[in-house]
Amino acid sequence: MPNDVKTGSLAPDKKLKWVGTRPLRPDGVDKVTGRAKFGADFSLPGMLIGKVLRSPHPHARIKSIDTSKAEVLPGVKAVVTRDDFHDMESEFVPAGEMLVNYRDMVRNVMAREKVLYDGHAVAAVAATSNAVAKRALKLIEVDYEPLPHVIDVLEAMEPDAPLLHEDMITAGVEPAPDKPSNVAKVVEFAIGDVEAGFAQAEVIVERTFQTKPVHQAYIEPHACVASVSEDGQAELWCTTQGHYVVRGHCARLLGMDVSKIRVTASEIGGGFGGKTVVYLEPLALALSAKACRPVKMVMSRDEVFRASGPTSGAHMRIKVGATKDGRITAAEADLKYQAGAFQGSPVQPGAMCAFAPYDLENVKVVGYDVVTNRPKVAAYRAPGAPISEYAVECVIDELARKLGLDPIDFRLANAAKEGTRAAYGPKFGPIGLVETLQEAKAHPHYTAPLGPDQGRGVASGFWFNIGGETCAALNINEDGTAALMIGTPDIGGSRASLCMMAAEELGIDLDRIRPIIADTSSLGYTFLTGGSRVTFASGMATIDAAQDAVRQLCERAAKIWEIPSDAVEWEDGYAKPAGANAGDFEPMSLAEVAKVAGKTGGPIVGHAQINAQGAGPSFGTHIVDVEVDRETGRVTVVRYTVVQDAGKAVHPAYVEGQYQGGAVQGIGWALNEEYIYGEDGRLENPGFLDYRIPVASDVPMIDTVIVEVPNPRHPYGVRGVGETPIVPPMAAITNALADALGIRFTELPMSPPKVLEAIGEAAAGG
C-alpha cells in the first residue's frame, strides 16, 4: 500500500462518518463528460471577441498610440488603451500572500508611460469575430521609443542598470537612498547574534544559488466574458481563484461601485496562485461598457507565458554553521528576488520561510525585491518559499554530510516543534515536522538499495497557510436535502471536502447536499482560493453554517414538542429530546423538521461569516531517488515519496493528489522549467513545447504518507495542504544528485547540458 495515513494522537474524539473517507466528488460527472463550464466555455447572445495588442519590446516609452484605423474597420465595436483607465495613487493593499498596488496594477493591465516587458498589454479591441479582432490589432499604430532593458536580477541591481521606474526609491533602508534604483524594497528578519553563532560553529557551509522564473503553467488559459449594460450594471464570468477579489480590483480600476459588478466564477482549470490577479477582466469590462455588448476574451498560451505571472527567479547566498555534534549555531541568507516589471516579488514570505523548519537561536535573513523587464510575478504555490527553502535545504544537506550525520537525523536534531519561536516572529503551536521526518526515516524507501548511477536525497519544507474572510450558507430544503453555498472557487475537489464536513455536522448523507460556488452578489465577501485556506477556512465557515442550521432545526423541533430548545439535541441527523425530556418524543429527522418548517417559523438557513484564524502551518519531508545518464546528463526521477502533515485529511485522496501534484511541479522546476530570454529581451519559449513541464512518462508513481498532527484551531484538525508539497522537491533532487555524482548543483533547472558540463568538469578535476 503506497499511500498511508498516519493518524496522530490528537484525533478528535468524535466518531466521524464522512470526514476521512473517499467519496466521489459532487462535480465529478460534469468533469468527466465535458459538461463542466470553464472560463472559455461561456457564450452570450450578441457577444463580441476581445483581443489584446501586446508590446514586442522589453522596455520602451510609448510616444503615441493611434487607434483610428482600427476603429473604422467594419466589425470593430470598441478599442481601449491607457486613455480609458484613470491613473491610480500608489497604495499597497494586502492580497492574501502578496501585496498589490493599484498604481502598478492599472499599468500592468494596460501600459501607460512605458511598456516594461515583452507581452505588456498596450491596447485591446472588441470585434464581431476573432478574425476581425486580429486584423484590427494590426491596424493600431504604436510609436515606441525603445529603451535599454534588464532581465537578470543581479544586473538589475547594478548602479548603472536601466531603470524601470525612474522614481523608485528603495524602501526599508535607513537612511533612504537619494537615487532611484530597481531595488524596490529591502526586508530583514533576525533573531539572536549570527556573528556570535558562526564563531561557535565548527563547520560552516556557504554557497550561492540561482533559480529561474517558472510559470504556474495551469492548463486553462485566462478567460472571461463581460457584459456591461447601458446603465452600468456589469456581469462578469471568469476563471479565477477569487471572484470577490476580481470584483474588488475591477471596481477600483474602473471606478465602479462594487455593487454594480456581479462576478461568477467558472470552473477553474488550474491556478496555483496565478489566477489571483486580474489581466483580461478589466479590459473586457471596459470594452463591453464601450460597445454595450458582451465581450469574451481568452488568452492564447503564448500570452499566458508572456504576460501572466510566473514566480521569481532569484540569486541567493546561504550560510549555515553547526557544531560537530550536529547543532546549528547560526544561519544567514541574502535573497535577491526579481519581481518582474512591478515591485512585489514574494521575497518577504521567502525570507520568513527560509529557516522556518529549524529551531535556531541566531538567524539573519535579508531580502531584496528587484524589478526587471519581465512580466510581473504572481503568486505561485507557497510564493517565495520554494526558492529560499531550496537553497537552505541544499546547504543543510551538505552540512549534514560534512558532519557525517544522516541528513534526517541532522534535521531532527534541529527541527522546529511546538513552542519553537520562528525567526519571523511567532511561536509554533502543535506542528508535524518531527513526525514527517520520523515517518520518512522509517519509510522503506529511505533504506531501499540504490542501483548504479542512482542517488537519494531528502529535503523538508514549510508553508504558513492562511485563513481569512469567508462566508458560507446552508439552505435546508423542504425535502430534507441541503444546498451549500461557498465563495471559494473549487480548484481541486474542495466541494467534496466541504460537503463532507456539512454532512458530518448535519448527520445526513453526502449525496443529499449539493454545493455551489455562489456568485459575488449571492454570498458575502469571501477571500480567494489560495494560501491553502479553502478546506480550513471555507471548512470552518461550512461547519459554522451547518451548526447554525442545526440550532434552528433543534429550535423547530422544540417548538413542535413544546419544550425548551436547549432541551433538544442533534444526533446523526435527528432532533432528539434530551435531559428531562429524554425519550418523551419520537426523534424527528432533518427531513421531518424541514418539511414543516413553514409552520414553525419559515425557511431554515444556516449562515456563517467569519475571519478564520489559526491556520496551522504544514511541514513535509520528501525522499527522492534519481538516476543519471553520465553521458547525456539526463536526470530521471525513479522513485519519490512525499510525507506531509495534513492535520486531518478530510478527503485523503485529494490530499494525496495535492502531495503528488506539488511534487511533480517541483520535479519540473528542478530539472527543466525556466523562462528563456534572448539578448533582445523577448521570451523565447512561450509555449508548452519549450517550456517543459513534466509529462506522464517523465515521472514515477508518487508515494504519499499523510501524517496527521491535528490543528487545534479547526474543529476536525485540518491544516492546509496544497502549497507545502512544492517546497521540498528542488532541494531533494539536488541532494539526490549530490549523492549520485558527488557534485553539488547550485543552479536551477538542472537541465541536461548543465549536468553534463558539471560531470565533465568534475572528471577533469575541476
Binding site: R25, T33, R35, F38, E220, I268, H651, G661
Partner: protein, 163 residues
C-alpha cells in the same frame, strides 16, 4: 473570402457547418457546434486538452482544419458515456480522484479510451507514454495512470477495486 461548407459526422450525427478556411476543428466544435468539452490549452498540439477521435485516430482538434472534415467522422468527449452510463474510464477517474481541476480530463479520457481500444492490457509504462501528449499540471499523473490501469482491468473482466 467565402466560408467553406462542410458536411460531416460528429458523435454519430450528421452535421453541416460553415467555417473559415483557417478555422480549426477545435474552433468549429467549440464555437460553431457548442461542444465545449474539448478544451484549448495551447492551440499548438502540445497539451492534448483538445484530444478527439478523427476517423478512429486520436488527434488534437487544434491541429485539424474544420475544412478537412468533409465526409469524416469525429468523436468527442461528449459522446463517451452511453446515455446515463459512464464509460468505465470515466467512472474510474472519479473513483480514483484522478482529476483535480478537471480541464485536462476530457482530453485524457479520450486519449485513454483510444489506448484501451487498441491495447486492452497496457503496462504502466505504455500508459505513461501513450498519455505523454496530455499535460496535467494538478495531479502529478499518479492517480490518472492508476485509474487507466484499473479501468483496463475492469474492462477485461478482472475483479478490481479502487484503493
Amino acid at each position: 473570402m467565402a466560408k467553406v461548407h462542410v458536411a460531416t459526422t460528429i458523435n454519430g450525427d450528421a452535421v453541416e457547418f460553415l467555417c473559415e478556411a483557417d478555422e480549426t476543428l477545435l474552433d468549429v466544435l467549440r464555437d460553431e457546434l457548442h461542444l465545449t468539452g474539448s478544451k484549448e490549452g495551447c492551440g499548438s498540439g502540445d497539451c492534448g486538452a483538445c484530444s478527439v477521435m478523427l476517423d478512429g485516430r486520436l488527434v488534437c482538434a487544434c491541429l485539424v482544419l474544420g475544412a478537412e472534415l468533409g465526409g469524416r467522422a469525429v468523436e468527442t468527449i461528449e459522446n463517451m458515456a452511453d446515455g446515463e452510463v459512464l464509460h468505465p474510464l470515466q467512472r474510474k477517474f472519479l473513483e480514483h480522484a484522478a482529476l483535480q481541476c478537471g480541464v485536462c480530463t476530457p482530453g485524457i479520457l479520450v486519449a485513454a479510451k483510444a489506448l484501451l481500444d487498441k491495447n486492452p492490457e497496457p503496462s504502466e509504462t505504455e500508459v505513461r507514454y501513450w498519455l505523454a501528449g496530455n499535460l496535467c499540471r494538478c495531479t502529478g499523473y499518479d492517480k490518472i495512470v492508476r485509474a487507466v490501469l484499473d479501468a483496463a482491468g475492469e474492462m477485461r473482466g478482472e475483479l478490481t477495486h479502487a484503493e
